[in-house]
């Protein structure tokens, strides 16, 4: 496994950087927030991303994608993270595309994958039921009724759930609440009757929803994968998501750090740039080291996914955990080192802090992944 990008991946990264620098600086997110935009992302921007082929990167060519791999997708999200660019790319292009590519029937792939690639529809993955990510627990039930399944229960904090056309929902089809073998996935159209979405207002101004299923009837052709497939295959989707999200979070860390270093060079107190003070220099240098370690962990996880590493679960948890901790450090230090201006809404750095924390909770925070890594390693 080589921990470097190839030429095409570098090219994608550069393209993404110039796209987000030009089209979606942080002021873009700020504008959406200030106008109380209910979508929380911009349709025009999404259309342009689709045109660049980003939505189809994880989708096989026969279904309209480019099958370019997770590293390519992750480096794009890393650049999106630099300007906190909101889009359905993660929920639809990563989670939805991966779930359908890995587990979809031929008919489902024909029906949905090309539309994900073309941006005609977006998806969301509904898995969490509690304030902490824990895929082992699932109370939402799907009970067979003739050729249909009837879903009852509630999913919370569904990323891009307020706008998604298709909800991929993890449901219990057998066993008790913590029996990981009795889990199945269903594709549910978001305008199904008895499905109620409530948009969440989160600190990072992105798109989330709580979704209630009150006798939602789904045809059995909408089962994604096997009935009672259990958590293991679902975890394959989650790990791809965790790796891609880690890359986005890394991008945000890198940029928040860069903005802070620039500020240390510009801001003068006592007649000198505050960056000349060793008290700040050493903390900045320590952040540099942590970011370098984080880059390596994220790179190893991306490349591990490309090569179907049998250590992928550990690499995914290593990346998500370390990027979570580094985000915490860098976002806090970034605010502190900016002094008073750092805690004003007018200045952008606060957006990085808010996004850092919300992103850390998505698909498992650092402690979740530390525990998982430790159990997988035998600590």
């Amino acid at each position: 496994m080589k921990l470097i990008l190839n030429e095409e991946q570098n090219y994608l990264k550069e393209t993404a950087l110039s796209f987000v620098s030009e089209k979606t600086p942080v002021s873009h997110l700020r504008g959406l927030r200030d106008s109380d935009d209910q979508l929380c992302w911009d349709k025009g921007i999404w259309t342009e991303m689709v045109k660049l082929g980003w939505s189809g990167i994880l989708i096989p060519e026969e279904y309209g994608g480019s099958n370019f791999g997770l590293t390519g997708m992750s480096v794009i999200l890393q650049e999106c993270g630099k300007t906190l660019t909101p889009s359905p790319l993660f929920a639809s292009g990563v989670l939805g595309a991966t779930a359908l590519t890995k587990f979809g029937s031929e008919e489902q792939k024909q029906k949905y994958l090309s539309k994900i690639a073309s941006g005609e529809l977006t998806t969301a993955l509904a898995i969490d039921e509690n304030s902490h990510h824990n895929p082992n627990i699932c109370e939402l039930k799907a009970i067979k009724d003739g050729s249909n399944y009837v879903l009852n229960g509630k999913k919370i904090f569904v990323v891009d759930g307020a706008s998604a056309d298709i909800i991929i929902v993890v449901a219990r089809t057998s066993g008790e609440d913590d029996d990981v073998g009795g889990l199945s996935m269903f594709l549910v159209e978001s305008d199904s009757s008895n499905l109620k979405k409530v948009k969440l207002d989160m600190a990072d101004s992105r798109n989330y929803a709580n979704i209630t299923f009150d006798n939602v009837s789904v045809d059995e052709t909408m089962i994604l994968g096997e009935i009672d497939m259990g958590l293991e295959p679902i975890n394959e989707i989650l790990d791809v998501g965790r790796i891609a999200l880690s890359a986005e979070m890394l991008g945000s860390c890198e940029k928040a750090f860069e903005i802070t270093i620039e500020y240390l060079k510009e801001r003068k107190q006592f007649g000198v740039p505050i960056g000349s003070f060793q008290a700040l220099q050493h903390r900045a240098a320590e952040m540099f080291c942590e970011i370098e370690l984080t880059k390596s962990a994220v790179m190893a996880a991306m490349q591990g996914a490309e090569e179907n590493s049998n250590d992928l679960q550990r690499l995914s948890s290593l990346a998500k955990s370390i990027v979570g901790e580094t985000s915490y450090l860098v976002s806090n230090e970034a605010v502190q080192m900016h002094g008073g201006i750092g805690v004003t809404d007018e200045y952008d750095i606060g957006f990085y802090l808010k996004r850092a924390r919300v992103a850390e909770t998505i698909l498992g925070n650092s402690t979740f992944h530390q525990e998982r890594y430790a159990n997988l390693t035998g600590f």
């Binding site: 921990l3 000349s276 700040l280 240098a285 984080t294 390596s296 530390q370 390693t377 600590f379």
Partner: protein, 397 residues
């Protein structure tokens, strides 16, 4: 068969015939396997150590990439990879540990003149001369460039007077590469030269320093009217600081690798010690608070290992990265030893006597020794300064 495949067959065959059994993995447990540092004063408890060193030195494979005319192996990168793989395959021990190889040879290759390369490189490679490093002085630690050991131009030779400190294994070394002040009136960085000094010269003396670990890997080294031939000046007069900095990068790299390699390879790691002393609960370290510290530490170690790998994949560029590795590697090694001591409880603080295992007594001393890791070769604080200035380009205070 390609050239490389042929080379692999040759290497395999040569190692098979020339690497003594006691120098390989699987040697009987009571075989004395000492670290071999070579030099005129070397004592070989196991004659195979000398044999193995001589054979590898003759091939130039202790420094396989160095050109043959200087005594090296003259191998290219692919060939070196094959040599390493084949040595690893039979568990062959490194034939020679050497500051000459790690620090001096790379700068001689870059800054030395033809005569110096021909004189010194073959002896480093064969392990005939053991080198030590004369950098720090009692008054010049982190502020190394303030060093005061002076070398006066006496026409035929330099006359050296002064004192070095923290010279590793000076009492066992044959030659010293030293930074000396040749331009007392120049600004401090521009009055330093890089000098090679034979320690058999009259006026050179050494005195070991006992550390908190009870061991004495370092010495004080004194120069009292020592005459050093002019030809032993490396590079230009008063241009030694550039060479000194380059050499420090090589040193930092090897110090940071040292701790990590030890941590990953060792069976006596923090996880097994914690399980032994706290107990196990369904495969987990029983003490949950200690377990969480171990997890954090081991995950950082994993990420640090990946960072070394990434740096190698990127082509090992950038000097400031050496500072990052030195800083992080040594701080990490200190934390690792603190955790091992804490995991062992009372048994992690044993000093001597028969009530404790050798491994326990060694752990205590190793733990104390790591306290020096973040000081030698530039303190952690100096490394953070280097990162601030060179990488982040923050303004000087």
């Amino acid at each position: 068969m390609s050239d490389l495949e042929n080379f692999r067959v040759e290497v395999k065959d040569w190692l098979d015939k020339n690497c003594p059994a006691t120098m390989r993995a699987g040697a009987p447990a009571d075989t004395p396997i000492d670290e071999v540092w070579g030099g005129r004063k070397a004592v070989y408890k196991n004659p195979d150590s000398k044999l193995w060193l001589d054979r590898m030195g003759e091939k130039g494979w202790t420094m396989p990439t160095v050109p043959k005319e200087y005594g090296g192996g003259g191998l290219n990168k692919e060939e070196v990879k094959i040599l390493n793989e084949e040595m690893f395959a039979i568990g062959a021990r490194a034939p020679l540990l050497s500051f000459g190889i790690w620090m001096l040879a790379p700068v001689l290759l870059e800054y030395g003149n033809e005569a110096q390369k021909r004189e010194h490189l073959p002896k480093i490679i064969k392990g005939e001369i053991r080198w030590c490093q004369g950098y720090s002085e009692p008054g010049s630690g982190s502020d190394l460039a303030s060093l005061a050991t002076k070398a006066e131009d006496m026409g035929e030779h330099f006359l050296v007077n002064g004192q070095k400190v923290w010279t590793s294994y000076a009492d066992k070394a044959d030659w010293i590469f030293a930074l000396v002040r040749t331009g007392p009136k120049e600004p401090k960085h521009s009055g330093i030269s890089f000098l090679l000094i034979d320690m058999e010269n009259p006026g050179v003396s050494t005195k070991p320093i006992t550390l908190i670990s009870g061991k004495s890997p370092f010495c004080e080294t004194f120069f009292d009217n020592v005459e050093v031939p002019k030809e032993n000046l490396v590079g230009e007069l008063n241009a030694g600081w550039t060479i000194a900095k380059k050499l420090l990068q090589h040193e930092r790299k090897f110090i940071s690798n040292f701790g990590l390699a030890a941590g990953m390879g060792s069976k006596k790691d923090v996880v097994s010690l914690a399980k032994k002393h706290f107990g196990e609960d369904e495969g987990k370290i029983s003490n949950p608070i200690f377990r969480s510290k171990v997890i954090d530490h081991k995950m950082k170690e994993h990420a640090f290992g990946l960072t070394l790998q990434r740096a190698a994949d990127e082509g090992g560029k950038a000097s400031a990265v050496a500072s990052m590795f030195k800083y992080y590697g040594t701080e990490h090694n200190k934390r690792r030893h603190e955790l091992m001591v804490a995991a062992s409880g009372v048994n992690g603080l044993a000093w001597d006597g028969n009530e404790f295992d050798d491994s326990e007594k060694n752990l205590t001393r190793a733990w104390l020794r790591t306290k020096g890791n973040s000081i030698e070769g530039g303190t952690s604080e100096v490394q953070l300064n280097v990162i601030s200035k060179r990488v982040l380009e923050l303004p000087s205070g």
